[in-house]
């Protein structure tokens, strides 16, 4: 049983380390930001997930504490990683305006939100608001 636990923990650690490394290798190896983005969002997140799972099992198995709070970090990372990636991509597109021409059309009347806004700004009706002191 202990061996099994050890095995599980070890495998998780190794997998975690491996995926994290892969993510970082990808980030170095891949040619441009958008492709690089694929590596850490997935691999690194999984890598840290592996480490967290290892920790969970380890503390539950060896220290006798039911250690589940690692779930929280994992969940948090899985929630935030794609959003980070999304914004990094957007910022990259914005920084490199030349990429705009390479983008496919949205199929809608409006373009991509990084470049185009809605024609009708529906939310700029009270300029006084900014002048109103914010205490």
């Amino acid at each position: 049983m202990e061996f099994l636990l050890e095995l599980v923990v070890s495998v998780l650690i190794v997998l975690g380390g491996f995926f994290a490394l892969v993510g970082s290798v990808g980030m170095v190896k891949l040619p441009d930001l958008l492709t690089r983005l694929h590596a850490p969002t997935k691999a690194t997140t999984l890598g840290v997930g592996g480490a967290l799972a290892a920790s969970m099992v380890f503390f539950a198995g060896f220290e006798g504490d039911l250690s589940i709070h690692e779930v929280l970090i994992t969940a948090f990372l899985f929630l935030t990683a794609p959003i980070s990636a999304h914004f990094i991509a957007k910022a990259h597109l914005h920084e490199h305006a030349e990429l705009r021409d390479g983008l496919p059309p949205t199929g809608r009347a409006q373009g991509w939100s990084t470049f185009d806004s809605l024609p009708d700004p529906d939310d700029e009706d009270d300029g006084d608001d900014a002048r109103a002191a914010h205490h």
């Binding site: 070890s10 650690i13 930001l33 997140t45 980070s84 990094i88 914005h94 920084e95």
Partner: protein, 89 residues
């Protein structure tokens, strides 16, 4: 066995962090560097977790949690800065 696994984990993650540093040095664009730091933070979280296993302590959990939270927030802040200039508008 766990010790060896940990050693491998430390090795892999350290290497990963160094690769992140390389990307941070090289860039070329700001977003590349933001991505590098973002990834570095995640790798560091993994390192912290492994360190916790090695030291048999859960005392670093909150640090890992805050690293995750704040890493995300600062990444978003940088993105917003690039996108809009004004982080809060």
């Amino acid at each position: 066995m766990i010790t060896h696994a940990l050693n491998f984990g430390f090795f892999a993650l350290s290497l990963a962090v160094l690769l992140n540093l390389w990307r941070l040095l090289r860039g070329p664009s700001l977003m590349d560097r933001v991505l590098a730091v973002d990834t570095m933070v995640i790798n560091i979280i993994a390192l912290i977790i492994l360190f916790g296993i090695q030291q048999r302590t859960t005392i670093f959990f909150e640090a890992a949690l805050l690293f995750a939270m704040f890493g995300f927030i600062s990444t978003v802040a940088y993105c917003r800065f690039v996108l809009r200039g004004d982080v809060i508008e």
